[in-house]
């Protein structure tokens, strides 16, 4: 089973999920907003990938939940839109202690 990734992106969620899932090491589920995701489940994911359209307040909220509950979920902010940098960001996240 691959690393579980929660993709949270307003516009590109579906596409990013498809791109992430093209790699056997990762298993992604998409959400178009923080409200759409049950935050109690954030700890079920190895990586929370935040992409375009997610406001800073929502990013802070997710960070707070991860820190306060001492979850192992890695929060990464995605730049670029899938092509070129996406896999590097994911690998960086799983290699970080």
């Amino acid at each position: 089973m691959g690393y579980k990734v929660a993709v949270i992106a307003k516009t590109l969620s579906k596409l990013l999920v498809r791109l992430v899932n093209e790699n056997k090491e990762f298993e992604a589920v998409g959400f178009t907003s923080v409200d759409e995701m049950d935050m109690k489940t954030i700890g079920d994911y190895d990586i929370a990938l935040i992409a375009g359209g997610i406001e800073n307040n929502d990013i802070k909220l997710i960070k707070g939940i991860i820190l306060n509950n001492k979850l192992n979920t890695k929060l990464i902010e995605h730049y670029g839109g899938g092509s070129g940098l996406l896999l590097q960001e994911l690998y960086d996240a799983i290699n970080k202690k």
Binding site: A9, T11, L16, G52, Y79, G80, G81, S83, G84
Partner: protein, 285 residues
């Protein structure tokens, strides 16, 4: 530190040398960075210790997909070098050659300032904001991807390659409204001097982006020298040689070599052959 504070701290240091040894140590190290000038011993705040990073053309990442032959100055796609991820806000510098009538199908971008500079041939662009355009040598195209866009890029011609630089800068802020722009730089082009093609200011020369960055191009005859003065303190400069050979701050550079300069107020340039150079000033934080 002004003269009054400097003298005051020196006096305090004399009175409480033992108790304040750690502070004094910090002060001493601090002062080492400066050159003493005149009789008042005030530091020379203009003094800078320039740092450079050299990326020779042949050390770049390379991927040849048949329809696309791409060299990556920084880590991109399957090329990953942890020592070469970015130069400040400059994250991607791809040197692309696309085969006739081929190209990048519709794909997404978000939260990135994307600048395309055609070097030869014609590149056809179509995006989800309704823009359809062709850019060619002498044009500069910019897209602020912001909250998210889709676009495609194809070689318009069926009988010749298109060569272009694609440059990605991290934006100053996330989730801006997506936008597209392109300009011809023929009107602002100068011979034997750097001329601006990109800035953070809507009313300035060239295209504008959501980042405190400035790009200048220069087309020089052999032997000509010029200087580039940093516009925003703390920014670094990445120089990329498009054609010919040049020296930047005394460093010899050949075609497609890159030199990053930080902690400097200006850089000096000399064309050692007829040369074309792109200067990218970007934030380093």
């Amino acid at each position: 530190m002004d003269r009054k504070k400097f003298l005051s701290k020196a006096a305090l240091g004399t009175l409480s040398a033992v108790a304040a040894s750690s502070i004094l140590k910090a002060e001493t190290n601090d002062n080492l960075a400066f050159k003493q000038v005149g009789f008042n011993h005030l530091p020379n705040k203009e003094e800078k210790t320039m740092k450079t990073v050299l990326h020779k053309a042949e050390t770049r990442g390379h991927a040849n997909h048949g329809w696309l032959d791409s060299h990556h100055t920084f880590s991109f796609a399957n090329y990953y070098n942890p020592e070469r991820v970015q130069f400040g806000a400059l994250r991607v510098l791809n040197d692309d050659v696309v085969a006739p009538a081929r190209g990048f199908g519709t794909h997404p971008h978000d939260n990135m300032e994307i600048i395309s500079i055609p070097l030869s041939g014609d590149l056809k662009h179509k995006d989800s904001m309704g823009n359809e355009a062709v850019i060619k040598e002498g044009d500069v195209q910019v897209m602020s991807a912001g909250t998210g866009i889709f676009h495609s890029e194809f070689n318009k011609n069926e009988n010749k390659e298109v060569r272009f630089l694609q440059i990605w800068l991290f934006p100053r802020e996330r989730n801006v409204e997506p936008r597209y722009d392109q300009i011809s730089i023929r009107d602002v082009e100068k011979k034997n001097a750097f001329y601006q093609v990109l800035s953070p200011n809507k009313d300035d020369e060239g295209v504008w982006i959501h980042q405190d960055a400035w790009f200048h191009l220069g087309n020089f005859d052999i032997g000509v020298s010029d200087e580039y003065t940093i516009k925003k303190q703390g920014n670094g400069v990445y120089a990329f040689v498009l054609e010919g050979e040049a020296e930047i701050n005394g460093q010899k550079l050949s075609k497609r070599d890159g030199l990053g300069v930080t902690e400097a107020n200006k850089i000096t340039f000399r064309a050692t052959s007829d040369a074309k150079v792109l200067i990218m000033e970007v934030p380093m934080d």
